[in-house]
Amino acid sequence: MKKTVFIGAMTAAATLVAGAASATVLDEVKARGELNCGVSTGVNGFSAPDSAGEWQGFDVAVCRAVAAAVLGDPKKVKFVTTTGQTRFTALASGEIDLLARNTTWTFSRDTDLKFTFAGVNYYDGQGFMVNKALGVSSAKELDGATVCIQTGTTTELNLADYFKANNMKYEPVPIETNAEAQQQYLAGACDVYTTDASGLAATRATFADPENHAVLPEIISKEPLGPLVAQGDDQWADIVRWTLNALVAAEELGITSANIEELSKGTSNPEIDRMLGSSEDDLGAMIGLDKQWAKRAIAAGGNYGEVFAANIGESTPIGLARGLNALWTQGGLQYSPPFR
C-alpha cells in the first residue's frame, strides 16, 4: 500500500517535470522578462558587486550582453550567486538559464555533466607566483618548495601532474579561498602561490609591494573559461554562443559602443550590416530573436576588446595583457565564425 502511494507520487512528479520541460529556455526567459544568470560570489575583475550593489565584471558582461540580445535591456538580469559546489546543480535544475562563472571547459563537464559550453570568453592557465627574494626565475627551480593551493580544484591536480612530470617534490599548504591564500602567502607560510594566471595577477595587484613578487613564465595548464548552458536546448545554446561571437566579431570589424549607432545606419561592409540588422538578411529570426539582437548585445558593454579593457585590461588594477585572448588577427585565439 505504502509503495503504491509512493510510486503514485513519483509518477505525478515525473509528469509535472515532463510537462514543464517542454517550454524552451528562450520562451521561459521572455515570459519571465528576466535572465537568471549564475555568477560567482566574487572573483576580482570577473564578477563583483560595486558599492551600489550593481554587478560588474568580465563574466557579468556576458550575462548583460545575452539579456540585451534576448530581452532588449542589459539590466534585466537576475544575478544568482553560485559557489563551486552549487553552480552545476543550479544550472542542471533550471534555477539559472546561463552560468558565467569562471568555469573551465573540460571533457567531463561537457559530456558527463550534460552541459553545453557556448564558447571561451577567457583563455586562462595555471601559473606560479613567488617572492623575488627567493631568486627563482623558472617553475623548474621549485623543487622542494611549499605551495599554497586551493583544495578541490583542478589546479590541485595540475600541480601534482606538473611536479611529477618534472620529477620534483613539493609540500602543499591547503587553503580554501583566494583571500586566505593572500594572507598565507604574505605571511610566508608558503614560498609559492599557484592558481589561474588571471587570479595571480589580481592577487599581486593588491599587495602593498607588488614589485617584490613575480609571476613565473610557465603556464602549466589550459583553462578555457566560458559561459555554459544546460544540454538539450540547442536554440538557447546558439543564442549564448552567437552573442559571445558577436562581441568578438565586433572587435574584429571595428564596431565599438561609440560608433555602433552610426554603423547600424548602413555601411559598405555587408557583414557589419548583417550583424547589426541593417541589411536584408534576418539573422536574428534564425535563432528566435529580432534583427537588432547583436546590435543591442554589443551596445550593452561594447565589443570584446572594450569589455576586456574595462574589467581586467591593462588600465585596470588587475592589469592583464591580452595575450592568448587577443584576436586571431593579432596572434591570439579569439576567433568568431563568420556571420552569414
Binding site: 512528479a13 576580482n44 565584471g57 537576475k78 552549487t86 535544475s93 593588491t206 588594477p317
Partner: protein
C-alpha cells in the same frame, strides 16, 4: 620569681597604628589578587606581557585608522608604509554588509521591521511590559513578512485570517465536543488557505490596493538575512523543540518513535548537509518552475535542525525534575496538558534556560553557513566586497566588523539569559 618586681605595666591603651603598608590599599589588593603565590605572580607577569604586546601591535593599527578613502591602495598611500586599519571599506560598504542588495530607497523597511521586532518581543522577554502588547506580537510575523518582501498587504492579511478562522471554528465547534473543535480548528484554516485565501486576497487587492514594491529574496543579504533566518529559527524552534521533547516522553509508541526518529536523524547529520539538501536536492525533486523560495527553504532546514537540539535541551530540563512533581500534578487531578502547562514545563524550562540560550546563540552563528549555498550573508558579502578591485586584499577590517556585530547580538542574548535566570531564581541554594 613570684615577687620579682615587674618593672613596667602598661596602664593605658596604645593608640591604634595604621596597618603595615603591605596590608592596605593597592599593595594589599595586588598581593592578594595578583601576586598571592609564585605561580600567580608568573601568570600575572605573563598576562601583562600579552596585553603589552597587543597594545604595541594593535595600538598603532587602531590609532592610524583611516575612514576616508576610495580604495585599499589609497589607504596605503595615506598611511605611507605605516600600519593602520583601513575602515574606509566599512564606510563604503556598510549598507551592503547590513542589508545585502536590498534597494537603498527601501532601507526603512528592514529598519522599521527590526524596531517593531523589538516591540514585539518585549512583552515576551520582560514582565513589566503591558500584556496587551502580546496582540501586536501575534500580528508581527505577518507585518514583518509584508514589510520585508513587499507586495500587497492583503496577502499577509489573508494568511493571518487563516488563524482567525481556525480560532473561530474552535470556539463554534466547542459546543459540540472538544475533539471536533480541535479537528475543526486544524482543518478550517487549511481549507481557508487552500481555497479561500487566494480569492480573498485578489478581491481585497482589487477593492483597496495597499501595496509597497515587492522585493525578491535574492536581494536580501548581509546581517539582514542572518537576523531573518536566526530570529525565525529561534522563534519557531522553541515551541517545536518543546513539542518534540514532550513527544519523546510520551506513552504513545507512534508519537514517541516519530519524535525519537526525527530528533536522532536531524542531530545525526551536519547542518551543512541539510542546507545543501535545501539548495540542491530539492531543486531536482520539485518540478521545474516551482517557486519555492530559497530563504524559506533555508529557514525550514535551520528551524528543524535547531528544534532537534532544543528538544534534547528541554528533555534535560524534564529529566532534572523530581518524580514528586509529576505525582503532585496527577494528585491534583490535572489532565496532561494542564499539568504540563502549569507545573512541569515552567520548571523544566527554567532549568534549561542556559542550554536553550546556548542553542539560540549557536543557531544564530550557524546562519553564516548559508554562504556555502551562495546566499550572501555577511561572510559571503565580505568575499564579494573583496572581489572588487578597490578592496581586494582587505581582510581584518571586514572580519573585525562582522565579528563585532555578531558579538553584540550573542552577548546581548547571553546577558538576557543571565538576567532571566536571576529573576526566576526561587530556590535558596
Amino acid at each position: 620569681m613570684s615577687n620579682t618586681k615587674i618593672s613596667f605595666v602598661r596602664t593605658n591603651m596604645l593608640p591604634q597604628k595604621s596597618p603595615p603598608s603591605s596590608q592596605v590599599g593597592a599593595v594589599r589588593w595586588l598581593r592578594e589578587n595578583l601576586f598571592s603565590s609564585p605561580l600567580n605572580a608568573m601568570l600575572t607577569l605573563l598576562g601583562v606581557l600579552i596585553v603589552y604586546f597587543l597594545i604595541v601591535h594593535l595600538g598603532p593599527w587602531f590609532k592610524n585608522s583611516i575612514w576616508n578613502a576610495n580604495s585599499l591602495s589609497q589607504c596605503r598611500e595615506i598611511l605611507a608604509g605605516e600600519s593602520g586599519a583601513c575602515w574606509a571599506v566599512i564606510k563604503d560598504r556598510w549598507h551592503q554588509l547590513l542589508f545585502g542588495f536590498y534597494p537603498q530607497e527601501a532601507y526603512w523597511r528592514p529598519v522599521l521591521t527590526f524596531v517593531l521586532m523589538i516591540v514585539a518581543v518585549a512583552p515576551i522577554l520582560f514582565a513589566v511590559v503591558p500584556r496587551k502588547v502580546l496582540w501586536f506580537s501575534a500580528v508581527f510575523p505577518f507585518l514583518a513578512f509584508w514589510l520585508l518582501w513587499g507586495g500587497s498587504i492583503w496577502y499577509s492579511v489573508a494568511a493571518l485570517l487563516g488563524f482567525v478562522v481556525g480560532f473561530g471554528a474552535f470556539v463554534l465547534l466547542q459546543r459540540i465536543s472538544a475533539l471536533v473543535a480541535v479537528i475543526g480548528a486544524v482543518l478550517a484554516p487549511i481549507f481557508w488557505w487552500l481555497f479561500l485565501a487566494g480569492p480573498v486576497d485578489t478581491l481585497l487587492t482589487a477593492i483597496v490596493p495597499i501595496r509597497i514594491p515587492a522585493i525578491q529574496s535574492h536581494d536580501f543579504g548581509g546581517f539582514m538575512i542572518s537576523i531573518i533566518i536566526g530570529v525565525t529559527g529561534i522563534v519557531l524552534s522553541l515551541p517545536m523543540g518543546i513539542l518534540l521533547a514532550l513527544g519523546r516522553q510520551s506513552d504513545m509508541p507512534l508519537v514517541k518513535w516519530i519524535c525519537v526518529g526525527f530528533i536522532e536523524f536531524i542531530r545525526g547529520v551536519p547542518l551543512i548537509t541539510l542546507l545543501f539538501t535545501a539548495s540542491l536536492l530539492l531543486n531536482y525533486f520539485l518540478p521545474p518552475g516551482t517557486n519555492f523560495d530559497i530563504v524559506l527553504r533555508v529557514i525550514i532546514m535551520v528551524t528543524l535542525f535547531a528544534a532537534a537540539y532544543m528538544a534534547e535541551v528541554v528533555r534535560g530540563g524534564f529529566a532534572a525534575l523530581p518524580r514528586g512533581q509529576y505525582e503532585a500534578a496527577d494528585a491534583l487531578g490535572l489532565d496532561y496538558w494542564k499539568s504540563q502547562r502549569l507545573i512541569l514545563l515552567p520548571q523544566a524550562l527554567k532549568i534549561s534556560i542556559p542550554g536553550i540560550v546556548n542553542t539560540f546563540i549557536g543557531l544564530f552563528k550557524d546562519t553564516t553557513l548559508v554562504v556555502f549555498i551562495g546566499i550572501l550573508d555577511p561572510i559571503g558579502l565580505s568575499n564579494a566586497i573583496r572581489a572588487d578591485s578597490n578592496w581586494n586584499g582587505i581582510v581584518w577590517e571586514l572580519y573585525g566588523f562582522i565579528a563585532l556585530c555578531f558579538f553584540i547580538f550573542c552577548f546581548g542574548m547571553s546577558r538576557y539569559s543571565q538576567y532571566l535566570e536571576g529573576k526566576l531564581k526561587t530556590d535558596h541554594r
